[in-house]
């Protein structure tokens, strides 16, 4: 058993931020340049492996497939052909169950870009901004509105009320569409399509959101993830996911360290000492809170019940002293 203990303490005392940086970089290369290496993970990935990045993508974001399927004419959608919608959803769900919202925290290329922009800001020494608690609450509803629109508009297209130009509405305003193809030198998305008023408006909105994305994520950590419908969609399905974030209220001194390092500024994680399952809809499972918790065993991430990363004292001391000169 000693082996397991030593492995467990080694994992718990890892320099977590450095580990997460390299993992994110790996997933970024996998999903944005996987295509060139012949990797094809299918069309229902629960993360923003953008479909517009045609050659390079290692797999396609499920939202594009979903919207594409929702646009089918209703006879086809609700006919036998509709079964393919269920099967792609099934594959998406299997992918999702493995990492729960860890997809957002570790895998999503758009998220990784935002973290890079944040570290750029840190180098320049500019302060980050915070939402006040009032703003946080009503801004948190936007992602559900976007999720609803992402379903309704394509269905309306399929039903014939909206014209085809409104196809995959969320993809048009998603910053992934304009930014991820840049990484494989495809600038075609950075243009406004004047061929019809709808296209003009949608691509215009898309580029406005891209601009907003850049300044937003420069001043606010993980700016876009707070409004992302994929995160909302994940949360609705996260009941039986394997990767879990658990909190032991009795160990918690409510010191608020987890809230301090949380990119999404979720107060519940610091203040709630009764709930066992502590993942909220805004959470991106980046596990920075577990890394920043000084109380042993208060916060831990479990995979199918087995604790894989738990907060420990010496881990905390090692991570929080990294900033000091003698680095001990």
């Amino acid at each position: 058993m000693l082996r397991l203990e030593s492995i467990r303490t080694a994992v718990n005392n890892v320099q977590f931020n450095r580990f997460r940086f390299w993992l994110q970089l790996f997933f970024f290369v996998l999903l944005v340049y996987g295509g060139y290496l012949g990797i094809e993970l299918g069309k229902s990935l629960p993360t923003f492996a953008c479909g517009y990045n045609k050659e390079g993508r290692g797999g396609m974001c499920y939202l594009m497939t979903l919207q594409h399927q929702m646009e089918w004419p209703w006879q086809k959608l609700f006919s036998v052909a509709g079964l393919t919608v269920l099967s792609t959803f099934g594959i998406f769900y299997l992918w999702f169950i493995a990492l729960n919202k860890g997809w957002c925290g570790f895998v999503c290329p758009v998220g990784t870009i935002q973290d890079w922009i944040t570290s750029l800001r840190r180098m320049t020494g500019i302060r980050y901004s915070r939402y006040s608690w009032g703003q946080f609450q009503w801004l948190a509803q936007i992602k559900y509105v976007l999720l609803a629109l992402m379903f309704l508009i394509p269905l309306a297209i399929g039903g014939g009320w909206f014209q085809k130009d409104l196809k995959s509405p969320f993809c048009m305003i998603c910053p992934g569409r304009t930014i991820i193809p840049l990484f494989s030198a495809d600038f075609s998305q950075l243009s406004i399509d004047f061929s019809s008023k709808t296209n003009m408006i949608m691509t215009g909105l898309g580029l406005a959101v891209t601009g907003l994305f850049f300044i937003g994520s420069f001043v606010k950590k993980r700016f876009f993830c707070f409004y992302c419908p994929m995160g909302a969609f994940h949360y609705l399905l996260s009941k039986i996911a394997l990767l879990r974030l658990k909190k032991d209220g009795s160990k918690c001194t409510r010191c608020g360290d987890c809230f301090r390092v949380c990119d999404q500024e979720i107060k519940v994680i610091a203040d709630d000492v009764t709930q066992k399952e502590i993942m909220t809809d805004d959470c991106i499972m980046c596990l920075k809170c577990v890394a920043a918790c000084p109380e042993p065993g208060a916060l831990k991430a479990t995979f199918a019940g087995i604790p894989i990363f738990a907060s420990t004292e010496e881990g905390f001391i090692k991570r929080m002293n990294k900033g000091c000169s003698d680095g001990k």
């Binding site: 840190r122 009795s250 409510r254 010191c255 360290d257 390092v261 004292e313 002293n321």
Partner: protein, 429 residues
């Protein structure tokens, strides 16, 4: 003949070593050192420190300016970062308690009386010299009111505004703003600049000290315990005035010695000794009366939840971005959010903390000390008692002050309390 009698005999300056304060400290220190056998050798540093400072009146050096603090809520890291030295002014000697009595009403907190007494007398023990500024966080009422008295004595007092509601977002933002204002105030006082480097070094200094304390804290979980509570209180009381680097090194040496004791299966007390959790008003040297009484009559104080030990050193600062703005805000959060001080409106954190300590240190009973006149602790006694009743843990409520005259009576009550715990443990075993 006439001038014989009219010549007033001058009060010769009694050498400090034989003054009443020294006497008081001397008796307590001797009691700590001599009446208990096999104290850890690395405690010798702390015994000598207290003997030199409290009994022989040696002065305590500090580099840069001296900033006195009257409560753990004053952020030390900021003071260290500006090159000044923080020193905690809370005082525990009965001598100053009587001197301070003419400032304060009769039924008021002895700690504040002693602090005011010490600040007002010329011979200040520990001899830290005259603080260039006293930081007085507006925590409990009597400390709040004592700030105007301190400034009347001629000290430069800075009132650090501290919120009394812990949970609300407004109080968090309000406290962050007042800590930033405190940093600006320190800049004006010392004239130095707050840079990322010196703040990081300060954070590291206290970080190492807290890490050392935590190791000691974890060693005290061992049952039968490796070190007596009175030594632990002495160690944390030394943190008030000792140089932080030397203090950390001494505590790390103590931890190593406890490591050997743990390996060699050494027992500081017999295994039947009841394990006591000490909470309530902070025992400050030389007023270690209650813990000493407990350990004299066979108990052992395994852990505590007081602001002269655990609450002062346990919680650590987590910083997300190593920039000055974020470090100062993290500091502010570290002092406000985890604090279990009774001056807040709600004390759920303190209750959960106590229950967690009871469970993780497998404590047999709790001793709850409240200084006579300290309403916050007295009022909180009811909720804590309820919580412990539900959890089935016996608790002894002691209302005392710095005077030694209720020692006899207290020892009887404590002995009876320990005996009832021994019976309870025997029947349960």
């Amino acid at each position: 003949m006439v001038n014989e009698t009219s010549k007033v005999i001058p009060i010769q300056a009694v050498p400090f070593a034989r003054s009443r304060q020294a006497g008081e400290a001397q008796t307590v220190l001797d009691h700590i050192v001599d009446d208990f056998q096999d104290n850890p050798e690395s405690m010798q540093y702390f015994y000598d420190l207290f003997r030199r400072v409290y009994c022989q009146g040696e002065d305590v050096p500090h580099e840069g300016m001296l900033v006195g603090t009257t409560c753990i809520q004053a952020p030390e890291e900021l003071i260290y970062a500006f090159g000044a030295t923080p020193m905690r002014l809370c005082n525990g000697s009965y001598h100053y308690d009587q001197k301070g009595a003419d400032f304060m009403p009769s039924k008021s907190c002895s700690l504040v009386k002693a602090t005011l007494g010490m600040l007002n007398s010329e011979l200040v023990i520990p001899k830290i010299g005259r603080p260039d500024m006293i930081v007085n966080p507006t925590t409990c009422d009597q400390k709040k009111k004592s700030s105007s008295m301190m400034s009347d004595m001629g000290y430069k007092v800075y009132d650090l505004e501290f919120p009394n509601v812990k949970e609300s977002e407004a109080s968090r933002v309000y406290w962050q703003r007042s800590v930033r204002q405190f940093a600006v105030q320190l800049r004006e006082l010392t004239g130095n600049k707050l840079t990322r480097k010196n703040l990081k070094e300060a954070l590291n200094k206290t970080g190492r000290a807290q890490a050392a304390f935590r190791k000691l804290h974890n060693f005290r979980r061992k049952s039968p315990s490796l070190i007596l509570g009175k030594d632990a209180f002495l160690v944390t009381n030394a943190y008030f005035f000792d140089d932080i680097g030397r203090w950390t090194a001494a505590v790390e040496k103590l931890n190593e010695e406890l490591e050997q004791r743990d390996k060699s299966g050494f027992k500081a007390v017999q295994s039947r000794a009841p394990r006591v959790l000490f909470t309530g008003s902070p025992p400050i040297f030389p007023n270690i009366k209650l813990p000493l009484l407990i350990e004299e009559s066979g108990g052992v104080v395994v852990t505590d939840e007081t602001c002269s030990a655990n609450r002062m050193l346990y919680d650590m600062t987590a910083v997300d971005e190593w920039m000055v703005s974020d470090m100062v805000d993290s500091l502010a959060d570290k002092y406000l959010k985890p604090c279990t001080c009774p001056i807040f409106t709600k004390n759920d954190d303190r209750r959960r903390r106590l229950l967690d300590l009871v469970e993780s240190f497998n404590v047999d009973g709790v001793v709850y000390q409240a200084f006579a006149g300290c309403q916050v602790y007295e009022m909180e006694y009811r909720s804590i008692a309820e919580e412990f009743n539900k959890a089935g843990i016996p608790m002894l409520y002691v209302e005392t002050d710095y005077s030694p005259d209720d020692k006899g009576q207290l020892s009887t009550r404590i002995e009876a309390f320990l005996e009832s715990m021994k019976n309870r443990r025997k029947r349960r075993a």
